[in-house]
Symmetry: C2
Subunit: 378 residues, 2 copies
């Protein structure tokens, strides 16, 4: 069935929304955070923990990584990514555009697409909008992203404008390819277009209108959180949200810190993904309601209190700060497992609580009351 979206509540004072997305792999309450499972695995977290302890509702896979390894032949033989990695809730795949720009050694952008070299073995590949749709058909994600160019910030405005138009032309080719092909695994796949336009109000407006006119099942905001000040990101997000249709989910790509999430939720964003909770976990940094903890810090050496007194995860009450600090200092793999489960559970708790507050009508008061402590360094 086509992707559905029930908007259950919109906040009285902010633009925050609570809803439910329906997919063939189940429902997704919104606002939602999607853990990043780059190569078909959310790093250091087992599917079992992701399901029970993190209670992720949807995860993300990276087309670029999955295309290079294990490759689409293997994924097709497996019957798609859900069967390959054993994750039977919804999956979203990005288009590979961002990785092509950030990871590959060399790349050449033409009207046709992007020619690039693999960061793994230097082999040459060509991603076109059509081919990226075919790859995402093979991966079998429930939500597939349009192939876009993601220019850096800062970039010359003339370049950003040309790039935006290219992204728009590619978008139409993505839709056309999907229209003329079938899903491989007997469930629906939704294409989300991506708004670009850098930090330029007029371009963002133009791009948001172009995307809104596509009447897609959901829409994404790309090209932000790439180094610009948070205020600029919020400004662009607010502008784009004011143009994108209200009755479709809005996805802000690659964002962000706990505070970023709450601010963007207030602007009307429904979906988020970011490597921050897992990447920072592997560096010993955990997020809590009381602030940010660097577990490698000597001050935790003999702190035998639970990892996070306010956390919902099994690891929060079972392990102590002193023990997890010891694991990090000793280079034990278990440290990465514990911190990753904690941070993902925290991000999911954060959006779940935000949703409850939107539904109960006191989102803004709640947001104001927690924002300061969320970014405090403990």
């Amino acid at each position: 069935m086509p992707l559905g979206f029930n908007l259950l509540a919109t906040d009285r004072v902010t633009s925050a929304r609570a809803g439910v997305i329906q997919t063939d792999h189940g429902e997704i309450p919104t606002p939602i955070f999607m853990p990043v499972g780059t190569a078909g695995s959310v790093k250091a977290v087992s599917q079992q923990d992701l399901l029970s302890d993190v209670d992720a509702k949807i995860i993300l896979g990276n087309t670029y990584h999955l295309y290079l390894r294990p490759g689409i032949d293997i994924l097709k033989q497996a019957g798609g990514l859900h069967k390959f990695n054993g994750w039977h809730r919804p999956i979203l795949t990005d288009s590979g555009g961002y990785q092509v720009y950030s990871l590959s050694d060399r790349r050449k952008i033409t009207e046709e697409g992007v020619r690039f070299q693999s960061h793994i073995d230097g082999s040459y590949h060509l991603f076109t909008p059509e081919y990226v749709m075919d790859i995402q058909r093979a991966i079998g994600a429930d939500i597939i992203m349009a192939f876009d160019e993601c220019p850096p910030i800062p970039a010359e405005k003339g370049y950003v404008e040309k790039s935006m138009h290219l992204t728009h032309r590619w978008l139409l080719r993505c839709f056309e390819r999907l229209r003329t092909t079938e899903p491989l695994y007997n469930y629906h796949q939704s294409l989300f277009p991506i708004v670009q336009g850098g930090i330029h109000t007029d371009l963002r407006k133009q791009s948001a209108q172009f995307v809104a006119n596509c009447e897609a099942e959901g829409n994404a905001i790309g090209g932000l959180s790439v180094g610009e000040p948070a205020e600029q990101m919020y400004e662009m997000t607010e502008l784009v949200c004011s143009i994108l249709p209200k009755n479709k989910p809005r996805y802000l790509m690659g964002v962000g810190t706990p505070t970023n999430l709450l601010e963007a939720i207030a602007l009307g964003v429904d979906m988020f993904d970011c490597v921050m909770p897992t990447r920072n976990a592997r560096n010993g940094q955990i997020f809590t309601w009381n602030g940010i903890i660097n577990l490698r810090n000597k001050k935790w050496e003999n702190d035998f209190s639970p990892l996070d007194e306010l956390g919902n995860s099994y690891v929060d009450s079972f392990y102590t700060k002193a023990y997890v600090r010891h694991l990090f200092i000793s280079g034990e793999i278990l440290a990465l497992q514990i911190a990753s489960v904690h941070n993902l559970n925290f991000y999911l708790s954060l959006v779940k609580t935000a949703r409850e507050k939107i539904l109960s009508g006191n989102f803004l008061e709640w947001k104001s009351s927690v924002t300061e402590s969320l970014s405090r360094k403990l």
Copy 2:
């Protein structure tokens, strides 16, 4: 209460035994394999998985590692290792002797003890038999090992003999230190002496008799599995087992492959530890009833059968060979987690099945029927 040992059955044809060890942290069925938790963590395996999926009955900690990190002050403040790492079943600690010889940069052995440099920061430390007992009191293991010298194989016989006598004199000092000190955490700690003597029949005999005369609550065979042929290891083990008391558990240190375990069980060994299941897991090698699988091998690329059709672990039926192979090739941490849980579960299943066969009186037939496939490369 003192450590107890109930011998439930001895095989009719081999010297294999089935029993139960009683400790203040619970019972241990024997024969048993003890996962190695070097620095207070069984590498890449959570305490939850170790308890439920692996069902380990006792784990091992390394005195050398725990002494250096987190250090005995932290362990004392935590209330011992059980409280520090949240493992509430029995723990055994080695004496640090083996690591001092294998890991530390420089070491000097005297009658007093061993002076060595930390492999972490080059700092100088002195391990004496007395101090190693104090450290193990602070760690709070249920079973603590005597401080011994573990000479390499091959070594000059004169050296092995001198070293053995030193180990014996140190053993008496260990017993004396324990006799005059109390456990720190209100439960009993048992000292197991270690038989040395290299691959020399007369020395092994002499050492076994010395150890037997100590009337300890359990006894260990050390200095084997350090590079000698398996046949020599079995020969020494058989000889020592014939001398050590029948009514106490026998622990063969640092052994070994699944086949090594079954052969040594047949000779009368009750307890084992080895890094092989976890270390090899991290290199992509898993042990199964059908043989040994190198998961990095291309042949598993599109093998979507369960990781181990005959395995009892959750990971065995949930994950496929193709997926775990992909995780190894992609450098995903989850690969290490899955393979480690699998291998430990397999080792525990191996000794559990051996125990059942001893109790049901058909251990030898069973051993003969499985030995060949256990070491086959798949």
